[in-house]
Point group: C2
Chain length 236, copies 2
Amino acid sequence: MTAVPLHQRIRDEIEGLIRSGAWAPGHRVPFESELMARYGCSRMTVNKAMSALADAGLIVRRRRAGSFVARPRVHSTVLDIPDIQAEITARGETYAFVLLAAERRAADPDDGDETELAGEGDLVVLRGLHVAGGRPFALEDRLISLAAVPEAAAADFAAEPPGAWLLNHVPWTEAESRISAVGAEAAVAELLALDVGTALLAVERRTWRAGEPVTRVRQLFPGEAYDLVARFGPAR
Amino acid sequence: MTAVPLHQRIRDEIEGLIRSGAWAPGHRVPFESELMARYGCSRMTVNKAMSALADAGLIVRRRRAGSFVARPRVHSTVLDIPDIQAEITARGETYAFVLLAAERRAADPDDGDETELAGEGDLVVLRGLHVAGGRPFALEDRLISLAAVPEAAAADFAAEPPGAWLLNHVPWTEAESRISAVGAEAAVAELLALDVGTALLAVERRTWRAGEPVTRVRQLFPGEAYDLVARFGPAR
DNA sequence: CTCGCGAATATGTCTATACATATTGAACCG
DNA sequence: CGGTTCAATATGTATAGACATATTCGCGAG
């Protein structure tokens, strides 16, 4: 009935343990010999599962040392929607994050989006400004689900911008991005030091871990000053 | 010296034949038994190479029938920069493409971008308007390299929009996209029936086949009317 | 204490073999 | 002639064994 090949069952079980966060980045995956014993199969079968996980970038394998859960790469390989701080410092400009507002509250029951994100818990609601070389670079509005990330209640987002903080604390996520263009409204224009109506690139990103919503962020970039770049091509 | 594992060499050679276009979509890849003979190795080794190609989506395998070069999927798996026509008809709106200008000419020698694209040949230069439900949806300026796609000289882009035509004639490409936001200039605003200065989403995409530039396109979408969506997540 | 060397070990590659399974094409029968 | 059955075939999965190679650990020499 099942007809799921063993090597794929092994692969799926390990993948589940990683994606759920049960095995955090850096955690040592059992040796092939241990998995052979656990599943009662030959090494080639285990090896096929582990090689597939390595190809998919979920684990890193090192001879003699063993296999380890990979840490999520900052750039999702494909679309450079990055850690803004890393991007700016890579250009050689100074970076600063100004936290404009931070609060903890329950989800607005009239906002289906917020209630879905919050689940059973509260939300952390943040607004901040990314500053590059002394000039406003992007305005960010973020919601974080405390049900998914309880540690966020105690984090100091003035010291470490929320994007970077999340990357370091919440391993491995699925993400969906929506990209559009909007004209700057008065309040936004003032914060970004632009004229009202200037074209802005609007990026809205939601991420999940193991199917559970983690965060939603809206970022506004001065359109002419910033390009998103996406590349597809021969991998490897 | 080489130290390239045999299964990977097999994989790379076949991948090269596919990406270069030598083996077009639908072409039958040699049977495992044939590849065993050609490379003088065991079936498991060939199988590893072929399974990897199948996982990567480059080939499709069918028992008893053999393995075949896959046809490129319209959506590049990751970033939905789509065939605009498919997108609009999927929404249930009528679609039309209005060809505003078409010419064949040599690359402007002062434009490094154009000369690189053109290579040794001429360019096809197109401007057209995508229309959804009777209203302007996107403005498209496109260059096609005749060196890479000589058939483009005879194509009727009024009958079939260039994006769709290229997808059907030029298999498997690498691509790079740049996304930004701009304000509508007067000429563009008129074509799209918008006010001057309205925020537009600007998508510039370049594609290559086997390292050779094929086309460059700039598309302008009314920002508020259109979202680009990118998804990353558990594959499969 | 440090450096270098060798042994232990986990993964990487490959072979030869076996049986399972989906699909096709052809033979066969109503 | 249409439909069913059946055997041939190519891939899918799995095994047990072998040797290669990178890396680490510990030991011993300086």
